[in-house]
Symmetry: C2
Subunit: 357 residues, 2 copies
């Protein structure tokens, strides 16, 4: 088990040694370790090697000139200059919060960025400012629109954080597909099939093969099939792609660059890098902040007191599982799987220092 502070220091050191300034290295580390704390290890330390390889392949600029290229009182576009996604993400969300402080809401689109980790991190930045936070990103294409076999969309996540008063905040943070890509990889390694409704084969037939993406298959959108509303999942994933890419001038859908170095960057890209979109809304831009917070407490308590289905223990509020994981991880430490530990050791050695243990 690793103390989260150690993982934070270690990761900051890695990205400092590859050339990031201390703020940027700290931002990358903070978002990756936040994912570990919140129980989403698929977006945590496992990404250190992926980011390191992206840097080695020249796809990430560790001395970026991140700048605002366009703005109005409530909007801005940030160009990340091929930075690590966290650098553009934290900068953009800060700007959204500043604009919300001044005009009620702030909306910032980012381009020329890369994988930014968990969307929830950015949405939650708004909470301490008495604001609702929103963050979305597009991602490299693995997902098919309804009726299609073409992989045109990412598992594009949406995160929304809403402050309450005595209750902990509502934090929804989810990929807009039935499952995350990482779950397919895990099932494949274990030699297991996956339930129907996650992936389809190269002709569009339902498949239970977690490796089908390497044979022309694709992930389906939330809903699974047309009969169960996959066209609504397609709409949602498409909206996130449009908000991430079209407002900012980043690449959309099939042109989004992969977040791993071993997959090639698509040719003839119409935009710049990966795109994100961030929003911050001051709650007192709508009604007195405490009135909003009290009403949110009531919302949360009403849903938490819902009657569980037979065989279920309780009804969850979005953010509950992650908050409970964080509490446990802060107390007992974070376990990192051996393969990832090995990666971290190799990277540390290459950079002239050590990963403990």
């Amino acid at each position: 088990m690793y103390d989260h502070k150690y993982l934070l220091d270690f990761t900051t050191e890695v990205f400092t040694r590859v050339g990031c300034n201390s703020d940027d290295a700290a931002a990358v580390a903070a978002v990756l370790v936040a994912a570990e704390l919140r129980g989403h290890s698929s977006h945590g330390m496992i990404r250190v090697r992926e980011y390191y390889e992206l840097w080695k392949s020249g796809r990430v600029n560790v001395s970026p000139d991140v700048k605002v290229v366009h703005e109005t009182p409530s909007t801005a576009v940030v160009d990340g200059d091929r930075c690590f996604g966290m650098v553009a993400g934290v900068r953009s969300m800060h700007l959204a919060i500043e604009k919300a402080a001044a005009t009620g809401t702030g909306w910032v689109a980012a381009r020329n960025s890369n994988h930014f980790g968990i969307a929830g991190y950015y949405a939650m930045m708004a909470l301490e400012h008495d604001m609702v936070g929103i963050a979305v990103t597009n991602a490299n294409p693995l997902v098919v629109p309804t009726f299609s076999v073409s992989r045109l969309l990412g598992t594009n996540p949406l995160a929304v954080a809403v402050p309450a008063l005595e209750e902990p905040p509502f934090v929804a943070d989810f990929a807009t597909t039935p499952i995350a890509r990482g779950k397919l990889a895990v099932s494949e390694k274990k030699g297991e099939k996956v339930p129907l409704g996650y992936v389809q084969d190269a002709e569009g037939n339902p498949s239970d093969d977690p490796g089908i993406l390497r044979h022309g298959g694709g992930m389906v959108t939330l809903g699974g099939d047309r009969l169960h509303g996959s066209h609504k999942g397609y709409c949602m994933t498409a909206v996130i792609d449009i908000f991430s890419a079209l407002f900012s001038g980043a690449n959309f859908g099939p042109f989004v660059p992969p977040s791993v170095a071993y997959l090639p960057v698509p040719e003839n890209q119409p935009g710049k890098g990966t795109g994100h979109f961030f929003g911050a809304m001051r709650i007192d831009a709508f009604r007195p902040a405490n009135e909003f917070r009290e009403a949110m407490d009531l919302w949360i308590r009403t849903f938490r007191n819902a009657k569980p289905a037979k065989g279920e223990q309780r009804v969850l509020i979005p953010g509950d599982p992650e908050r409970e994981a964080e509490k446990e991880h802060l107390k007992s430490g974070i376990s990192v799987v051996p393969a990832v530990v090995d990666d971290l050791k190799i990277i540390a050695t290459e950079l002239g220092f050590d990963f403990r243990k």
Copy 2:
């Protein structure tokens, strides 16, 4: 078949005769007939009787004092004074557009409103202003959170309209459940079962009985079950409920008043009426408008040219089916089912005029 202009005139006359001023009556009629034109008759003329009954029961104020109760440069809250939803909807969306013109984006929450028809109508109002439009609403509770049997959420729709250049706009407009409530009613009348994945029984077991809602059952969220991502559908439906009710001070979840007079209004409501939330974003608040529009054309063409799955003819862009329905209905007229025609005749007679044919 009825010419849409006749239905528009007739519906305007109905709501004028119940006491609406001419603008308000025209707004109600415009949104209901737009639903018919776009092929969503579940939100069209069938609602005239429901609205009429709501008015007769005293739940709708036909002389409302609709006003802005709070605002900042980019936000506002509108109190609908128990108006028909369209009255608050059109007023709020106009205000969002005005604010976007001035500060880049505009966000308006409405409370003390009622059923507002198709969300897409309001989102599309932004298009002619070179803006992206967003509209959501909450609705009376029929939907269970994941792991629960308590009906705490509506089929809360999300609409997003995005302008293109030569291509028609992207218009997503969908209830955030696998199906709309109306489909259950149709299946029940036909004596048919529904596929598993739409509803559950009073204990939370999957059910194929479209009448199960009358026996303690509930509709499930998009995804269908936990294994297929229903918790993500729950997050999305919950976010729409929060945006609609918490920003405005309307009722949330289980307290949202029914849109039909034969269901009672919940007791001890914490808020005012039904809530909506509207957004408008000037595309040139992010990048030059024509650059955005051209990129959107490329987005649309890329998705329209996706390879269809085996047995499918084509891949659709959100808004395609509705636009095609509208074209056909403008040419050939709108068919209204006999039961609805009967309702319209009775209402017209009660109000001292006639429904033709």
